[in-house]
C-alpha cells in the first residue's frame, strides 16, 4: 500500500514537472514580450521615444533578458521554495496578491460543487438501482435527463433570480460586505455557504444528473453478481449486504472520474462566474492573456492543473482502497 502511494506520488511529481514546462512554454508564446507593453503603457502619449536600449534596460530590470532555462528555474524555484509566483506586472504587485482571494473562491466553489455532486448522486443512484422500475426510479431518470439538458448559464440565471428575489441574499464574491473583514464566526460561515450555494448548485447540476446514472448502472450490475447472492445465502441482512458489496463497487466509477469532474468544473466555472459576477481564477486567466501578464497566467494554469493532477492522485488512492485488485495487480 505504502509503495503504491509513493509510486503514485512520484507519478504526480513527474506529471507536474512536464506540466510546468508546458506552462512555461505557453508563457513564452505570445509575440512581443512584456517589456514592449510595459514601455508602451508607460511612455505612450508622453512624447518620449523608446529606443531598443531602453527596452533592454526594462528587460534587465524585470529579469527578462536571461536565457529561457534560467528564467524557468528561477520561476519554478520561487514557487517551490518560497511559494512565490512572481510579479504581476500589470497590477504592479505580486502574483500571490492578485490570486489570493480568487484562489480561495475557486477552491471553495470547486469543493462545494464536488461535495454536493457526490452527496446527492451516490445515495440517489444507489436508491434508484435498488428500487429499479419503481416510480421513484422513473422520476429520477426524468430529472437526470432534464439535468443534462439544461444549460448552465440558464440555470444560473434562474437560481440567481430566485435567491435574490426570495432569499434576499446577495450573490457575487465570497462574503457579504459586513462579513468581508470580520473574524471567523458561525454567522460568517453561514454567509459563505449562502454565497457558495448558487454557483455550486449550478455547477453540480449536470454532474449530479450524470453521476446518478453512472451509479445506478454500476449498482444494478453489481446487485446481480453471484457474490451478492452468495452473501445473501449466508444470511447477511439485506441492507448491510448492499452497502458492503455492491455499493462499494458502485462508487468506483464516480471516484475514478473525480479528475474529469474537476476539469469540467474549471471549464464551466468562468461562464457561471460571469453570470453571477464572481471573481474567480478563470476570468483572471483570460484577462492576463489580454494583458500578456504571463506570470499571472502561468500561475493560474499551474494551479488549476495542479489541482486536477492532485485530485487524480487522490482518486487513485481512494480507488485502491475501494478495490484491492488495483494495488495488488499493479
Amino acid at each position: 500500500m505504502i509503495r503504491f502511494v509513493i509510486e503514485r506520488f512520484f507519478g504526480m511529481f513527474v506529471t507536474m514537472f512536464f506540466v510546468s514546462i508546458m506552462v512555461f512554454i505557453i508563457m513564452e508564446l505570445p509575440p512581443g514580450d512584456y517589456a514592449d507593453r510595459y514601455a508602451f503603457r508607460k511612455f505612450s502619449g508622453t512624447g518620449v521615444t523608446v529606443t531598443e536600449s531602453d527596452l533592454d534596460n526594462i528587460r534587465a530590470e524585470l529579469g527578462l533578458d536571461r536565457p529561457a532555462y534560467q528564467r524557468y528555474f528561477s520561476w519554478i524555484g520561487g514557487i517551490l521554495f518560497r511559494f512565490d509566483f512572481g510579479d504581476a506586472f500589470a497590477y504592479e504587485t505580486s502574483v500571490n496578491n492578485v490570486l489570493g482571494q480568487r484562489l480561495g473562491l475557486t477552491l471553495a466553489i470547486l469543493f462545494s460543487t464536488l461535495i454536493i455532486t457526490y452527496l446527492v448522486a451516490i445515495p440517489v443512484g444507489i436508491y434508484a438501482a435498488v428500487h429499479r422500475h419503481s416510480a421513484a426510479d422513473y422520476g429520477l431518470t426524468i430529472f437526470s435527463y432534464l439535468g443534462l439538458a439544461l444549460p448552465n448559464f440558464l440555470l444560473a440565471l434562474i437560481l440567481l433570480y430566485i435567491s435574490v428575489k426570495y432569499l434576499g441574499s446577495s450573490v457575487g464574491g465570497l462574503f457579504s460586505a459586513e462579513y468581508q473583514d470580520a473574524p471567523w464566526s458561525i454567522a460568517k460561515f453561514v454567509d459563505l455557504l449562502k454565497h457558495l450555494m448558487v454557483p455550486a448548485i449550478v455547477l453540480a447540476w449536470s454532474a449530479t444528473a450524470f453521476q446518478i446514472q453512472t451509479v445506478r448502472a454500476t449498482m444494478s450490475d453489481e446487485i446481480n453478481k453471484l457474490s451478492v447472492t452468495a452473501a445473501r445465502a449466508r444470511g447477511i441482512p439485506e441492507r448491510r449486504l448492499l452497502f458492503k458489496y455492491p455499493a462499494r463497487l458502485a462508487i468506483n466509477p464516480v471516484v475514478s472520474t473525480m479528475g474529469f469532474d474537476v476539469n469540467r468544473i474549471f471549464s464551466e466555472l468562468p461562464i457561471v462566474a460571469l453570470v453571477l459576477g464572481l471573481a474567480e481564477l478563470g476570468e483572471l486567466l483570460i484577462q492576463s492573456y489580454l494583458d500578456l501578464d504571463m506570470f499571472v497566467a502561468g500561475a493560474i494554469l499551474l494551479l488549476l492543473t495542479f489541482i486536477i493532477v492532485f485530485m487524480n492522485f487522490l482518486s487513485d488512492i481512494a480507488l485502491s482502497f475501494l478495490d484491492p485488485r488495483i494495488k495488488l495487480k499493479g
Binding site: K225, S227, A230, R232, A233, G235, I236, Y245, P324, R325
Partner: protein, 348 residues
C-alpha cells in the same frame, strides 16, 4: 416388480416409513412461475422430494430443468419476478420443530437464520461466488459472526481451521488473501469452508464441480463426501451429470422441464431406471473402463420454457412416446417400489 398408481396426493407419499422420521427437508408440490416480458415461464411444475438426515440427495437434469430454481426456492433467493405456488410446501425439520419456509417473509430474521445457519449453499462458479474486494477470511468470518456467538478473534480462528479442513495449505496465510489470489479449485474449497463454517445441517450444492476440470472435480467430490460425515450433515447435490451423482448420492430425483420424472434410491434410479428420460441420460454417461465408448446424448432439443409441451413434457424427445396419450394429458405418478416412483404412461 410391484406397480400401482398413486393418486395425485403426493403429500402422503413419503419414502419408506423406516426413514420418514429422518426427514430434514421435505418439498411438496413445489411450483415456481416467472413473470417475464415474453410471458409466464413455468420453471418448476409441482415437484416433491425429501432430503433425509445424513444423506445426499442428488437432483439431476439437463439445462433448464429447474434445478437451480428449486434450490433458490428453498433458500428463498428467487428474484421478485418469481412466484411460488400457493399450495407449495417446503418444510424444514429443525430439532425444535418444523418450519414452513414458503410462509416465511423473505427478509425475516427467521429466514436469515435458516440461510447460512441451517442451510448453506455453494454455487457453480467458484470464480464469482466471492466478492473480489474482500479477503477470503473476511467473507468466512462474516458468515461465522452472523450465525455463531463468537468474538472476532474466535471467528478468525474458526475460519483458519475451516480452510485447513477443506484442504487448503497455509490457511493462516490464505485467510488474508483476496479471491483472485486463489485458483478455481481452491476457491471452491474456500466456498465450502464458508458454507460449513456455520455448521449447517443441510448443504445445497448447485453444480459445485461443473466449472472445474476433471481431476479437481474428483478432489472436491471426495472432500465433500468426507466433510458430510465429519459434519454430520445432509447434502442436496445438483448436477446435470449422472456420472457425478452416482459417486455421491444415496437418493436421486431426475428432473426435466420442472417435473420430477423419476425418484428413488441411487440403486433404484441408476440400477433399474424406468423412465425413458433417465435411460437416455444414463446412455449419455461415458462408462468407466469402456475407453472410446460412444457418447449418446439425449436426442432432440429441449423445448422453450415459454412453450411447455402438453402432456408429458418429455414426449417431444421420447422414443417410446405413445401417440395420442403422452402428448395429451400429464401422466400420473407410478410407484415402482417402496422407494421408487416414476412419472410415465409406460408404467400406468
Amino acid at each position: 416388480m410391484m406397480e400401482w398408481n398413486v393418486d395425485t396426493n403426493e403429500k402422503e407419499m413419503g419414502m419408506a416409513t423406516a426413514v420418514s422420521n429422518n426427514k430434514l427437508l421435505e418439498v411438496t408440490d413445489l411450483g415456481v412461475t416467472f413473470k417475464t416480458d415474453e410471458g409466464l415461464v413455468r420453471a418448476v411444475d409441482g415437484i416433491s422430494f425429501t432430503a433425509h438426515k445424513g444423506k445426499t440427495l442428488g437432483i439431476v437434469g439437463e439445462s433448464g430443468s429447474g434445478k437451480s430454481v428449486t434450490a433458490q426456492s428453498i433458500m428463498r433467493l428467487l428474484p421478485n419476478s418469481a412466484m411460488i405456488d400457493e399450495d407449495s410446501s417446503i418444510a424444514f425439520y429443525r430439532d425444535s420443530g418444523p418450519i414452513e419456509i414458503t410462509s416465511l417473509d423473505n427478509r425475516s430474521q427467521k429466514m436469515r437464520e435458516l440461510r447460512g445457519g441451517d442451510i448453506a449453499m455453494i454455487f457453480q462458479e467458484p470464480m464469482s461466488s466471492f466478492s473480489p474486494v474482500y479477503t477470503i477470511g473476511n467473507q468466512i468470518m462474516e458468515a461465522i459472526l452472523q450465525h455463531r456467538n463468537v468474538s472476532k478473534q474466535e471467528a478468525r480462528e474458526i475460519a483458519i481451521d475451516m480452510l485447513d479442513k477443506v484442504g487448503i495449505a497455509n490457511p493462516a496465510v490464505r485467510v488474508d488473501q483476496y479471491p483472485f489470489e486463489l485458483s478455481g479449485g481452491m476457491r471452491q474449497r474456500a466456498m465450502i469452508a464458508v458454507a460449513l463454517s456455520t455448521r449447517p445441517s443441510l448443504l445445497i450444492a448447485d453444480e459445485p464441480t461443473t466449472a472445474l476440470d476433471v481431476t479437481i472435480q474428483a478432489q472436491i467430490l471426495e472432500l465433500m463426501r468426507g466433510l458430510k460425515d465429519e459434519f454430520d450433515m445432509s447434502i442436496i447435490f445438483i448436477t446435470h451429470d449422472l456420472g457425478v451423482i452416482a459417486q455421491v448420492a444415496q437418493e436421486i430425483v431426475v428432473m426435466y422441464l420442472g417435473k420430477a420424472m423419476e425418484r428413488g434410491t441411487a440403486k433404484d434410479v441408476l440400477g433399474n431406471p424406468q423412465h425413458p428420460y433417465t435411460v437416455s441420460l444414463l446412455g449419455a454417461i461415458p462408462k468407466l473402463g469402456t475407453l472410446g465408448g460412444r457418447l449418446t446424448p439425449v436426442g432432440g432439443d429441449i423445448p422453450s420454457p415459454l412453450q411447455r409441451p402438453s402432456g408429458c413434457p418429455f414426449h417431444t424427445r421420447c422414443k417410446q412416446k405413445i401417440e395420442g396419450v403422452c402428448d395429451v394429458d400429464p401422466p400420473g405418478i407410478t410407484r415402482v417400489s417402496d422407494t421408487h416412483t416414476v412419472y410415465c404412461y409406460l408404467y400406468e
